[in-house]
């Protein structure tokens, strides 16, 4: 928008709405552009995996095992002669769908718990935060491993395990923000009008604490991608023959000296996705909470 001298323009400019200000900050940030386009690419790859993959990811050809990248197999083949590129493409689908759904479920549960804890306070808050602190003391991967050992390995249980691990972080972030917002006078005004607790929580508090929650969700998707890969790497995650980055990485260990590409390419996929999600998360933080940066 051009700068206009005072009084030069007769027509008063309509001030930018909150949403437009944020969008402007977003698309002016190179982190968001780079991170966002890589993520978009990954999502497109996941959706159109069956069109992009040159080979069937499950088809084993014993005659072409452990091939180096060549013109036919651009990322080579694995220990069973399957096309690595095709497997990684299908693996994108697994990583993205599990990480997104687990984050969505975990975030929803965590936010709800945090809202209750922060809004009602007192004994409820003490009990909830006690449990949350105990959960936070356990390392992510140990907690996930324990849960999967109890529940058994399946895609559904992996989602549950990762979602449960998301709850404490989200509950904490939400509770902290609720404590800040619930003291504000517009919340008192709503109470003075006779608004119900549900109305106050969902119409007055939640919309005003959405910024940190959006940022937290983005960052958690990145950790979810890592946990999924780590679980498969340890053999507790998505089971073979389903193509999954961590699983491919694990299988390639044995052949690293002869066919290092089996480990390098899935590693790069994980790296790119996680880094780009974090870039987007940082960009979102800059746009949504400008006061807290620098």
């Amino acid at each position: 928008m051009q700068e206009t001298a005072v009084g030069a323009s007769k027509k008063p400019k309509k001030p930018l709405s909150h949403r437009r200000v944020i969008l402007r900050r977003l698309y002016k940030n190179p982190q968001v552009i780079v991170g966002g386009s890589i993520i978009l690419m990954f999502i497109l790859v996941a959706v159109f995996a069956s069109f992009i993959a040159p080979f069937d990811p499950y088809e084993q050809v014993m005659g072409r095992r452990l091939q180096e990248p060549c013109s036919e197999h651009i990322m080579g083949t694995d220990w069973l002669g399957r096309d690595l590129f095709s497997r990684l493409i299908y693996g994108t689908r697994v990583s993205i769908s599990i990480s997104l759904s687990a984050t969505a479920i975990g975030a929803a549960a965590g936010i709800l718990i945090g809202l209750m804890s922060g809004y009602y306070g007192k004994a409820l808050d003490t009990i909830i935060m006690g449990i949350i602190n105990i959960m936070m003391a356990l390392p992510a991967i140990i907690l996930a491993l324990t849960l999967i050992t109890i529940l058994g390995t399946s895609t559904r249980n992996i989602i549950i395990a990762i979602a449960i691990f998301a709850i404490p972080t989200f509950a904490r972030v939400t509770r902290g923000s609720v404590l800040g917002v619930k003291k504000l006078e517009y919340v008192d005004a709503a109470r003075a009008l006779g608004a119900s607790d549900a109305r106050i929580i969902f119409k007055h508090i939640l919309p005003n604490i959405s910024a940190p929650l959006i940022i937290q969700s983005t960052i958690y998707v990145a950790s979810a991608v890592l946990i999924i890969a780590a679980l498969s790497f340890l053999g507790m995650g998505v089971q073979p023959p389903t193509p999954e980055w961590g699983g491919i990485l694990d299988g390639g260990r044995e052949f690293f000296a002869r066919a290092s590409h089996i480990m390098i390419f899935p590693g790069l996929f994980i790296l790119f996705l996680v880094v780009s999600i974090n870039l987007l998360g940082d960009g979102l933080r800059d746009a949504l909470e400008p006061k807290q940066t620098k």
């Binding site: 709405s17 909150h18 517009y186 008192d188 003075a192 009008l193 109305r199 919309p207 005003n208």
Partner: protein, 342 residues
């Protein structure tokens, strides 16, 4: 003005806030924010609560709004005890008593347009028909000087004064009888203050409202009040008509407060009394008269015995031993304490 029907009668209101301590978070003590106060508000009058920060005037307003849970006392609104209502009864009655807040930047939800804010108020209190809502909202906004074309804007698109007007419109939209103005103009520029004050007085006449006006600014209070309640450290020290209070302040605290109002008359030599020391802690308020630690004229009786109310004329009632002991002209007495004249 003071012969109207009693609208609100507050009796022995107590509002304590617990202080938690120790490992188990037990309540170790209380902040006695409002300690046993009683007053009467009549229909159509403006009653001001004045006092310095921390004296409990805002807390009184919040307790009456039931934004806090009072620890004791009754408040009869049209004969109904506000503190004994069930959740549903309270919700129905909330339309009759509304509040206007101090900070126009915190009192409006930044994510909701002006229309949404006022529509919500009317929906909760079931005011008017849904079909006529836009017209009704426009009408209320017009009463406070906000145009219909600004209805779909967000709070950040308004100035502080305009936001305060929107806050007033929200309170007004549910057709209340009593409005508690909690430092409603304190956060505004002086020029805007006058506008908003005039608007409030205008609305009072138009809609036959009753105000409890909470303020620390005696200039503003003088302009708007019919009756004034002076509070110090959680207690009432003086209840008086506006005229009587400013002409013949009864309580030493009121008197020292009045001498602190800046004068616009350069020729007039005004004597200011500067009190020494801080307001004592409301956790352990002083025994006897709570003002005795800072009162320039305090004597032995003040630190021992709590003064009861003394009727001074027919419009003034003062809690002070000086008056009861016949020293109504305390202003001319020498200081017993370290306060200074300027």
């Amino acid at each position: 003005m003071t012969d109207g029907k009693v609208l609100l009668e507050v009796q022995n209101l107590k509002q304590y806030f617990p202080i938690k301590g120790g490992i188990l978070g037990r309540t170790v003590n209380y902040v006695r924010a409002v300690d046993d106060i009683s007053f009467v508000v009549r229909e159509g009058e403006v009653l001001s609560l004045v006092g310095e920060s921390g004296c409990g005037k805002s807390t009184t307003g919040r307790s009456l709004m039931r934004l806090e849970k009072p620890n004791g006392g009754q408040a009869f609104f049209n004969g109904v005890d506000l503190f004994k209502l069930s959740k549903r009864e309270l919700r129905n009655l909330r339309g009759d008593i509304q509040i206007i807040f101090q900070d126009p930047y915190a009192s409006l939800n930044p994510r909701r347009t002006v229309y949404q804010t006022i529509d919500e108020a009317m929906t909760i209190q079931k005011i008017g028909e849904r079909a006529n809502r836009r017209r009704d909202v426009a009408e209320v906004l017009q009463a406070v000087g906000i145009g219909e074309h600004q209805m779909d804007l967000y709070p950040h698109q308004f100035s502080g004064g305009q936001r305060q007007r929107i806050g007033i419109a929200r309170a007004l939209s549910v057709k209340p009888k009593l409005i508690i103005c909690d430092e409603a103009v304190s956060a505004l520029d002086v020029s805007i203050q006058a506008q908003v004050l005039n608007l409030l007085m205008d609305l009072q006449r138009r809609f036959k409202l009753t105000y409890i006006f909470i303020s620390h600014d005696l200039g503003v209070v003088r302009h708007i009040s019919d009756k004034i309640v002076v509070m110090y450290l959680g207690e009432i020290v003086e209840v008086s008509d506006q005229k009587a209070l400013f002409n013949t302040p009864g309580h030493p605290y009121t008197y020292t407060l009045l001498t602190s109002i800046p004068s616009t008359n350069l020729d007039e030599k005004k004597e200011r009394i500067i009190l020494t020391g801080d307001v004592p802690s409301p956790v352990n308020p002083p025994a006897g008269c709570r003002f005795h630690t800072r009162c320039p004229w305090a004597y032995e009786r003040c630190s021992v015995e709590k003064p009861s109310f003394y009727q001074l004329g027919d419009a003034q009632s003062v809690a002070c031993h000086l008056l009861q002991d016949g020293r109504v002209d305390f202003k001319n007495l020498p200081f017993e304490n370290k306060a200074t004249k300027e």
